[in-house]
Symmetry: D2
Subunit: 387 residues, 4 copies
């Protein structure tokens, strides 16, 4: 590959939180350049945002359809390689389908679509087109999450018995959606967010992380979803008992009314021989616990001979130079970019580059939401995980 | 009170773990002296243990019945004030009933009895005799647990919404009961331990702590108990969804197969305005989290003007001199001793002294075991908490 | 500003550690594009590195002089805005002087030059040209370092009495310079590194951080430098007693033979009313300690009303999304870029943008090295800090 | 031994901090009983304190001389085995000498005497009488300090290169000695405390700990003592550069004006192969760092096969049941009691029992104070450590 990949962005105008994150993640490694955008449904915002990002005015579009059509018509040496979709949940499906139809690879912020049905259609489309889709489940981009997954895979812990994953946040402790908080407004609105609130927004991250590290799939579950703040329309809190297909038992806890918590995603996994503990607040550390010897503190970039190549591949600095959320996000983009570049060059991507979340993770995430909501409404203890 | 209180001990011969703990706890503050014991059902061990403890050979008994009868017949200035029962679960009830009948106050290691039915009978007996019973739910003796309870009571957090309590241990990760581990053997034996394994041994501690700090009572629950180590006869792992009588939702997790964990009891409670976090591994710290200001690190003995008198009463040293498990245990004995001394002196004990776990906690603990086991066997999601 | 700033790089070819860091830092926020480079003194490496970075072959130079001359001759809408110098210490001065002479702004990796004398000449040149120089003392780019500095400045801690700063690393615990470690080789070579080893490499960071947060200047010092690994040519360990111009006392500890430590820069500052603690390993947390109330955990992006604008300006994400070393580095570049852009646009940069380390910090850093080495060789306890 | 050891106490009346600590430490393990006391120079306090402690009124003395004489005249089966001296520093020497002369073993709170000269005389007396003296340097009683010492001794870290020990407290940040704080008053009074303030009170603990764990002796030092609070008569802050007899370099920092710190004694030791870190605030954890593998978290009572018998001997509970300051203090008393009991029984004490601080540690502590004060007053960088 002798050039940067060309990215277009749908959504993510100035003041949009997640769009800015995607741009930093895409910029970081110098493999991608943002060259076009349909950045807002508000024309003025779209234009201003394009200026702010130094976009060519000709490639600053007022709607995504125009962008996709015009870009598709451009010559190969100018045309977008992929589009990133960072609109609210309900507005993912249409641009994603259209982009794929027009031959663009796609990056989508999670959750992948508004409904499980849409997710399945998108999966079929991805498979039919042979194009590549990145779903930005950020947390699987952390180097020590890679290390953890690899250690489980290698059998270091023996058979996995327990998975405890928790995701407390406190930012919805008040009825902020009625107090002018735009983030809170759309995330608690069933028409924009989907069937679930906290379980969709953060519970899906927790479930994805649990399955990613453990290598096991949720088989049945028992959910208790709550609306803790009176007047709210969607769950802001919940807990789910889990059973995995390898026989492990688990608990998933997600809450957006855990007052005083920031973004405290944490996972613990126990096997016959030992356990792992990883927390997003201190992401460069992985605690490795053993039955009969001291707990070990694995560190990102640690330089131990027994570390995973998946960890080192996703680390930019030596141990002691903390990398964080943006680098984890950047790892998703970097692996995606390496994979696209390899496809363009006609070579096989490295296995480490191929390790990023895709459309299948998106389908499982939407199914998780569906199954959790169904279980929560049921009097039966267990609900089978169905797709 | 112008003398130490006189204690007799049932069980707790040399090599018994918990008996030694009780003695340290009772010794620590110079308010109690051990003067008699029926320390083992093995005569030789009983005699040797008595010597080791410098007991008068005449008050080193070979069985508890003899001890209780002989001591009851002694003059008031020599007779025991109370007996401590540290036998396995199934052997608590008989000596406790007999001791109360003979006029002795009682200390019992938890769980209080073998069955809920026994616990209720014991409660009736305590009420009928007017004697005092201490149930050694150690963890409520920690100063920062007192602080936490008081902050909830004072409304510092607003209405309580969430309770997460967890108790991971790893020591039963192997089938140790078949490998000569005596502790493991009786604790996993339904005939000695009762209906539940891990849920009885440590789940009850977690439930007790949750109710103690939150001030709310479990109203219904949904339990998932597991036997993770093949060949074991009782649950070694479990999780329970909880609903409290104040509307709060909760999760209780207890496992003895969390490989690599020591004794990691931890609780988090969230209300409308803030949250609390306390972990037994670092017991002198209480994290106090707020919606809109930095988390505060409350420390035992901290000397802040707004600290609870229940915390300071249960602290022996200024901040920075870590007190631990034995001091928490000692606090139970000290409060019990202060209460007995006040009763003997005919005065009203201080409210701080009266704050120790008693027979009502024991009954709730046994009911917790019953309800959890019942729920675990049920296909229905929720089981009402019945006593 | 309606375009990205144009950067050229001197040094930093493939496999060079710090060059890659500079590029990530410069890329991150989409304000800068790398358009030219004299990336290596090895021609082949220079060319390959240019390709890898997708540079125009015409702007991939084989030596920095050619680059500076050719770029200086380019039209204004194509010419570099600044050059970044990431060669070893001894090769900073010449390209920096030449760049300034030709009208380019400059970024230099620290320590700024090989000797104090060079640093002073460079300072005179910067002042004479009116151009802008960024010295990449990374650690002052962390948001919680900004917060700490501001709290001291605002008098929150009262008069500052104590500064403890420490910087342990373990990577030179063996004689790695003889075992093919290129980093170790040049850093322990007096001809390439300068008068000091560990004190120059990391001691200067510690001193810079101490002065930056405390707002006080080192006035005299007492240094003890050691060579702990036999056969090494420069100090690999040291401690320095400090006196500041405001009367505070301090200790600075820097070691590269602290076996098992990664990059554990940490600072504690105490005043009459309270103290601060910040550690690079967990950079998003600032502990704020008080005489008579609980320690507070300030967090980056925390959203408290009393936080510093300097902190928020240097944060990209809300609390709980850990930012790290690369973001701190990126903050230096972002502030530098905002300052350059404002100068180009003829407007006044924001005070927060102007807050980045410059040539004066470089001079003080070189003086620190000189004074520490002089003190270490002296039998007198105190050595005055002279520039 | 078929009885408890009999203790008398000099000083330590009600409201005295350290006397109460000694009693808890002595009580804890049921090996010692307090039977006599000269608890205060205030007669009323002496009598009341005796009552509070349930002492026989006949053995509640009004001055220590009477106590020692009367107790010395008692029959062997009633006479004290040892006396504990917990008066302020200046009032240690006289009762200690008299007690030894009359055949009593002695426990003394540190620092051992008011001056180095007294300490040497006391040492000669101990040697002449063959009696046993325990100096309560509490921090060497912690199990993980024992573990650390043993690991250094066994060569696990290789040759020791660095020792960093720090002891920050904040309780003298104000001029509390003028505000009715009795502790502050005598500790900052040269007539009661001795030549040094913070360096005597806590610096000696730090020095003792450093020598105890490293197994090396301080050979020369460079001290900087400060009075940070205007109006104070003794140092409240200081730092000392150290050189040990094995070639290691060190830094000792002690401050009582580190506002917001409690009692944060911490030590780090680095050798060729790895490092150790122990902090009194979390005493059950010892971090063991390695050049080329992950840091290990050793835990008290951890049950690893490679743990030191000195650690397990000084632990009462299995891992995860935090033991603290009082248990560390209790370990000193327990080892002292086991040693006395063995001497009484005419057998050899176990090496683990013999491992408690004695008069030689006291002499080194007084010499440390002398040398530090001398160095602080000198313009020369290094002062030889002389006894």
């Amino acid at each position: 590959m002798n050039r940067k990949l060309r990215m277009g962005m749908i959504g993510g105008g100035k003041d949009a939180f997640i769009g800015a994150i995607h741009r930093i993640a895409a910029n970081m490694d110098g493999l991608i350049e943002l060259v076009a955008g349909a950045l807002s449904i508000n024309n003025e915002v779209a234009v201003e945002s394009g200026k702010m990002l130094f976009l060519d005015p000709e490639r600053t579009y007022l709607d995504f359809k125009t962008m996709l059509q015009k870009e598709a018509a451009m010559p190969a040496d100018k045309r977008l390689d992929f589009v990133t979709i960072v609109t609210p949940n309900f507005a993912h499906f249409e641009p994603a389908m259209m982009a794929l139809d027009l031959g663009f690879n796609v990056v989508i912020e999670k959750p992948i679509t508004f409904s499980l049905e849409e997710a399945k259609q998108l999966q079929a489309k991805v498979e039919a087109t042979g194009l590549t889709l990145l779903l930005t489940h950020t947390y699987t981009g952390y180097p020590m999450v890679k290390q953890a997954r690899q250690m489980v895979k290698d059998g270091a812990l023996g058979k996995i018995r327990k998975v405890w994953v928790e995701y407390p946040q406190g930012w919805l402790s008040k009825l902020s959606e009625r107090e002018g908080n735009a983030q809170a407004a759309w995330r608690t609105d069933p028409k924009k967010s989907g069937k679930a609130g906290a379980m969709g927004d953060i519970g899906t991250h927790a479930a994805n992380l649990a399955e990613y590290i453990s290598g096991a799939k949720i088989e049945k579950l028992c959910a208790d979803l709550n609306i803790m703040v009176p007047g709210r329309a969607l769950d802001d809190d919940g807990a789910v008992l889990l059973r995995f297909d390898n026989g492990a038992a688990g608990v998933l806890m997600a809450s957006q009314v855990a007052a005083g918590e920031e973004n405290a995603l944490k996972i613990r996994i126990y096997g016959e021989k030992g356990g792992l503990e990883w927390a997003q607040h201190e992401p460069n550390t992985l605690l490795v616990k053993w039955l009969d010897k001291p707990t070990e503190i694995y560190r990102a970039g640690g330089g131990y001979s027994f570390q995973s190549s998946y960890m080192t591949h996703n680390t930019r600095t030596p141990g002691g130079h903390p990398e964080g959320y943006l680098e984890a996000f950047g790892n998703l983009y970097r692996n995606f970019a390496q994979t696209l570049a390899a496809k363009i060059d006609g070579v096989q991507p490295a296995p480490e580059s191929l390790d990023f979340p895709g459309v299948a993770d998106g389908v499982r995430g939407m199914a998780f939401i569906d199954n959790v909501v169904r279980s929560s409404q049921s009097d039966a203890k267990w609900t089978n995980f169905e797709i």
